[in-house]
């Protein structure tokens, strides 16, 4: 009868370990989802600011239609992109288009001095900073999550259990999260 108890004990241990491991994967996935929600909030805020900005510039430089169209298109593309990778690319394209819009604005001193424009510019810069902060957090949670589901033993069962690898929110040259040792060395 002893072997039966040993077997039961080992089984119970496995069940406990599996439960802990599963909970960890769920937690990591939730963290990554939260990270994505943080980015989404900021992207939304950014797309909300753009129509006002375009209107502000149009008031002074109505004939610069090509730039307005480009910004509007890039904004629409960002709104439609739902996957993190595509959203990252669309966001970069929008940044480039906005850069051209601001370059146009340079030529209009009255526009540059207008309170409204300055405020919008400040808000946009702030949103961009927040997007990059949110991206760092999201990418590091994705890295932890992906590493976890690609490691033994979870790599064998992650797919059937519905844990799929997540995309990074890419931005040129900033996907790698530096590894900082958390153990104090002194």
């Amino acid at each position: 009868m002893l072997w039966l108890w040993v077997l039961l004990g080992v089984l119970a241990l496995l069940v406990v370990l599996a439960a802990f491991g599963y909970n960890r994967l769920v937690r990591l996935r939730n963290e990554a989802d939260t990270g994505w929600a943080n980015i989404d909030v900021q992207l939304q805020r950014r797309t909300d600011l753009i129509p006002n900005l375009v209107e502000a510039v149009r008031g002074y430089a109505a004939h610069e239609r090509a730039v307005f169209d480009e910004v509007t298109r890039a904004r629409a593309a960002l709104q439609q992109a739902s996957a993190p990778g595509a959203a990252g690319d669309a966001n970069d394209a929008l940044t480039a288009a906005l850069g051209r819009l601001f370059a146009v604005a340079e030529a209009y001193p009255e526009l540059k001095a207008s309170e409204n424009f300055l405020r919008l510019q400040e808000d946009l810069t702030d949103t961009e900073d927040k997007i990059s902060a949110a991206r760092r957090y999201y990418n590091s949670t994705v890295m932890h999550y992906n590493t976890a589901i690609q490691s033994i033993p979870w790599v064998l069962v992650a797919k059937p259990l519905g844990f799929r690898a997540k995309e990074f929110f890419s931005a040129a040259g900033d996907t790698a999260v530096p590894q900082v040792s958390l153990a104090p060395s002194a």
Partner: protein, 318 residues
């Protein structure tokens, strides 16, 4: 070790420390009961419990009071507020901590609060006048790491508990000094009790500070991770190290809350315990912290710091 494992280890250590405090408190009460009077021990314990509950409930206000941290209006210091927002987004905090400012020339910062959702970060005006944006961001990230790692929870508890132990020790000590009714058992018990009553506050202090030393390294690493910039944190530490001023309002019971130990150069606390002084430092030496960051980030700090414009200029404070 991942961050989550660290947080869990931190929580485990917190539990041990809190239990340690309870044991210390009971021992102290036992000594009072043995040497003086059982009813006095009960009174001391009751006072300790009331003080403890009051302290935990009001910890936010108490710490703000001790550190003289002023709340900032919603439209003031917007660039600084934005930095705090960005850093807490980078750390994945659920809520941006409240911002408070301490009018003090010494550059320093602290974090307080029992939960990540009800925490706040305090910075001195000296910090804003000393640090350029990149380094200020690193200091804020360091404080946000304390909040995320649940260090502020433990630090707040430790502040209150150390206060409780000191209070109970004080009750016992005064009773002896003013000739409380002494129980039979003679001189030996009385001496033991006096030694215990004197040492207990120091033991409490020691416990509290040993806690905080490890956490500083962790928070530095956290700040480096949040900003993907280990050098910024190291630069900020170097600038703090080079700064000769110390925080005026630093009270020894909140010393461990700060990014740089404000009592490091104030020796009042260490008088008479010079040989133990290295144990009593709440923060590991800045040099060791910089070295750890240099190793992790694979860089070496230049010998001299660049003269960047401090963030106060952008805030219109300078």
């Amino acid at each position: 070790m991942t961050l989550q494992q660290q947080i869990r280890a931190n929580r485990f250590r917190s539990t041990i420390v809190i239990l340690g405090f309870v044991v210390l408190l009971l021992l102290l009460a036992g000594l009072i009961g043995l040497a003086l009077d059982t009813s006095l021990a009960i009174v001391a314990l009751a006072v300790a419990a009331i003080y403890g509950v009051f302290g935990v409930v009001n910890s936010r206000r108490l710490i703000a009071g001790i550190t003289q941290a002023q709340a900032v209006g919603p439209d003031e210091l917007r660039p600084l507020r934005r930095l705090v927002e960005n850093v807490s987004i980078g750390a994945g905090l659920p809520v941006t901590p409240e911002l408070r400012v301490v009018e003090d020339e010494a550059p320093n910062a602290f974090a307080a609060g029992l939960r990540p959702t009800s925490s706040y970060i305090g910075v001195t005006t000296g910090l804003l006048r000393a640090m350029p944006k990149r380094e200020l961001e690193a200091v804020l990230a360091h404080e946000v790491s304390h909040i995320r790692n649940r260090d502020t929870y433990l630090m707040t508890m430790a502040t209150v508990f150390a206060g409780v132990i000191a209070l109970v020790g004080d009750i016992g000590f005064r009773s002896i000094a003013y000739g409380g009714r002494r129980r039979g058992g003679g001189a030996l018990v009385a001496i033991l009790a006096i030694v215990g009553l004197v040492l207990a506050p120091y033991a409490a202090l020691l416990l509290r500070m040993s806690l905080s030393r490890r956490r500083e390294f962790l928070a530095d690493a956290g700040a480096a991770e949040i900003l993907s910039d280990a050098e910024a944190m190291a630069l900020a530490l170097r600038r703090l190290e080079l700064d000769p001023t110390t925080v005026r309002y630093s009270n020894s019971s909140t010393a461990h809350l700060w990014v740089e130990s404000p009592t490091e150069r104030v020796d009042s606390l260490k008088t008479g315990v010079i040989e133990f002084s290295s144990f009593f430092n709440t923060h590991p030496p800045t040099r060791a912290r910089i070295a750890a960051l240099e190793e992790a980030g694979g860089f070496r700090l230049p010998d001299r710091l660049a003269l960047d414009a401090p963030f106060a200029v952008e805030l219109g404070l300078a």
